[in-house]
């Protein structure tokens, strides 16, 4: 079982790869809309990648209103 820190790290790594950013350039409290300059649709694409990586299904409502990686990781963690 992953710890929340591991999950958060994996979320950050995957987001960096998905949006082609240097590793380590994202932090848990970053607002991904602002930091990555993405819109809600691009967020949905990232969620699909995260679901595949963690082998979970994350309903759309779970990420409603979430805009930072830390909260996103905690939502994932609760479904692992």
């Amino acid at each position: 079982m992953r710890t929340i820190d591991q999950t958060t790290r994996e979320v950050l790594d995957l987001a960096s790869k998905h949006f082609q950013l240097p590793a380590g350039s994202l932090a848990p409290d970053d607002d991904f809309f602002k930091k990555l300059g993405i819109d809600s649709l691009q967020t949905l694409e990232l969620l699909s990648r995260l679901e595949n990586h963690f082998g979970i299904e994350l309903p759309d409502y779970e990420v409603q209103g979430v805009s930072d990686f830390r909260t996103l990781a905690s939502r994932i963690q609760s479904r692992l």
Partner: protein, 570 residues
């Protein structure tokens, strides 16, 4: 299609539709690649009647208000029909609002019933604002896990009456819905829409974009939105068509739904349409040079042959692969909620996929103008729909003025706000606050706004007053949020942004700490509501005797500043 001129209310029309099209497929609900549910109109009625009966047994009467806060799904429509069956007034609320905002609107609407989904309920129940909604008597929650306690809420699935419900008729002038066009955090704008508003709008829209049994509408825009309520519920139902709901709106499942369910119509906001364009363009660009040359030639042929009007059969043959990716039966993409760039509209039309772009607002009963595609024009928002009188008020020498509308589709007014209603509907004409002019072919063109607000590409109306609360307590003398284009008018409906105007205390400088404080507060707003820049203004804000900021006067003063150098981006 039912002859709506014979009907007095949404409820009676839907009631007859359920009987007339009893054996037709009414709803399909899918979650990812799994089909969860497929209902005929008969099934729909069998689900709705016990709910209507239970509502009546719980004391829900004609004219009472019932709110729905749900994502797009079958239970949304079943609940709405049950409310209309009882003669109730539906209050459809945006599930994307925060719980505090939802409670605020629930309280304002005076709803005595709330129907919501478990994940939304969890957040609503935890919100402190709940205590204000004292009018609420019946709380129904769908899809709650079996072992959870819902306190005073009840399970939607178990809320079933024992008797056949009594159908309660309404007249055309009775309120059917209260739809909030904005107002969270500020002055709630609850548009009171009558049954006539919907009946007339439906006739007008279906005359251009008809539904029929076998047609399938993919419901992606939230159903609380006026467009989806009309073309994703009332319109298809009175024609016996099918509505397809997806519980997961990931791009891959949306793409799959087109081919799996052979979609006929879909409504999208400009942001999604533009994204779709980007995706398609990337695929076209990736074609090997030879294939790309052939493809471009076919697009040119299609363009030439559809100049006067769409020719769907021909376009589907010429550009088979493109149309097959959309299921092969798509008749049009309906786009609304915000302004769409002409280049995006043209892109799809050239592929033989007409985009029904138009212009409207909730207050006008959804659409005012729609492109009739005869011929297709990407540079306008089309001609007024049948039954719409549209005129331009106080036009400038180049013909541009405020767009105003008179029609049976215009709302009866704002709930509990006669003052705002009187400002908005003047001598029977709805003042839209948008600037436009008619060209010589009778097409409306839009040129920005007269009012202090923005509409995002996601179709969200944002009024500056609604987001100012988040900046309350900022350590400055005073502040105010504006739509940048209200201060510095631009003849454009795209790329609209909000700015925060700060008047620092005497001698106060704009420090990194203050910038961080603003960024932190801004981050608490939903992403589409955030301000994009800061304007420092070293003068006292003009105020009324009751100390309200005179926004128009302040905007005039701010307009003296140079936009390019005055806005500090966050």
């Amino acid at each position: 299609m039912l002859d709506l001129s014979k009907y007095q209310s949404i409820g009676t029309a839907l009631k007859d539709a359920l009987d007339q099209f009893a054996g037709e497929t009414c709803l399909i609900e899918a979650d990812r690649d799994r089909e969860k549910e497929r209902l005929t109109y008969r099934d729909f009625k069998e689900r709705a009647h016990p709910l209507a009966s239970a509502l009546q047994e719980a004391g829900f009467r004609a004219g009472d208000r019932a709110a729905i806060i749900m994502t797009n799904q079958s239970k949304w429509l079943i609940s709405a029909y049950a409310i209309f069956y009882c003669g109730g007034v539906l209050v459809p609320l945006d599930y994307k609002l925060t719980p505090d905002e939802q409670w605020q609107l629930l309280t304002h609407s005076g709803a005595s019933v709330l129907i919501t989904e478990y994940p939304i309920w969890r957040q609503l129940a935890a919100s402190r604002s709940r205590s204000a909604a004292t009018n609420l008597k019946t709380l129904l929650v769908t899809e709650a896990p079996p072992n959870v306690a819902l306190d005073d809420a009840r399970r939607w699935e178990e809320f079933r009456g024992s008797r056949e419900p009594n159908f309660v008729p309404r007249t055309r002038k009775d309120p059917a819905t209260i739809v909030y066009s904005s107002g969270t955090g500020g002055r709630p704008k609850g548009c009171v829409m009558t049954h006539e508003n919907y009946l007339e709008q439906c006739v007008a829209l279906t005359s251009l974009y008809p539904f029929a049994p076998g047609f399938r509408y993919l419901s992606i825009l939230p159903t609380n939105h006026a467009i989806d309520f009309m073309v994703g519920f009332f319109g298809p139902f009175i024609c016996g068509a099918t509505v397809v709901h997806l519980r997961t709106l990931r791009p891959e499942y949306v793409r799959e739904a087109f081919t799996k369910y052979k979609i006929t119509y879909v409504s999208l906001v400009p942001l999604v349409l533009k994204n779709l364009q980007k995706g398609l363009q990337a695929r076209f660009d990736a074609l090997p040079p030879g294939k790309r040359k052939i493809f471009n030639a076919l697009v040119s042929v299609n363009k030439a042959l559809t100049k006067g009007q769409p020719r769907l059969g021909l376009s589907r043959r010429l550009l088979k692969q493109v149309h097959e990716a959309f299921g092969g039966e798509l008749r049009a993409i309906i786009v609304g909620g915000a302004f769409t760039e002409p280049q995006t509209l043209q892109f799809f039309y050239d592929l033989g996929i007409p985009v029904a772009n138009g212009y409207g607002l909730t207050e006008a009963g959804t659409a005012i103008t729609v492109n009739d595609l005869h011929p297709f024009r990407s540079d306008t928002v089309g001609k007024p729909l049948p039954g719409m009188e549209v005129r331009i008020i106080d036009p400038s020498p180049d013909g541009i003025g405020e767009v105003s509308v008179r029609s049976k589709t215009v709302m009866s007014g704002y709930l509990n706000d006669p003052e705002l209603t009187a400002e908005t509907i003047v001598d029977g004409w709805l003042m839209t606050g948008d600037l436009g002019r008619f060209d010589s072919w009778g097409h409306l063109q839009l040129f920005g706004r007269k009012k202090n607000m923005i509409v995002t590409e996601e179709g969200k109306n944002i009024y500056p007053e609604d987001i100012e609360t988040v900046f309350e307590g900022l350590p400055v003398k005073e502040f105010c949020v504006f739509a940048a284009n209200y201060i510095w008018p631009q003849r454009s409906m795209v790329g609209e942004q909000l700015v925060l105007v700060l008047h620092p205390e005497p001698g106060q400088s704009f420090t990194d700490e203050l910038r961080r404080d603003i960024s932190f507060r801004n981050g608490r707003l939903l992403n589409y509501k955030r301000v994009h820049g800061i304007v420092l203004f070293d003068e006292d804000f003009p105020r009324t005797a009751s100390l309200k900021i005179k926004r128009n006067v302040l905007a005039e003063r701010l307009a003296q500043l140079d936009r390019a150098t005055s806005v500090l981006f966050l």
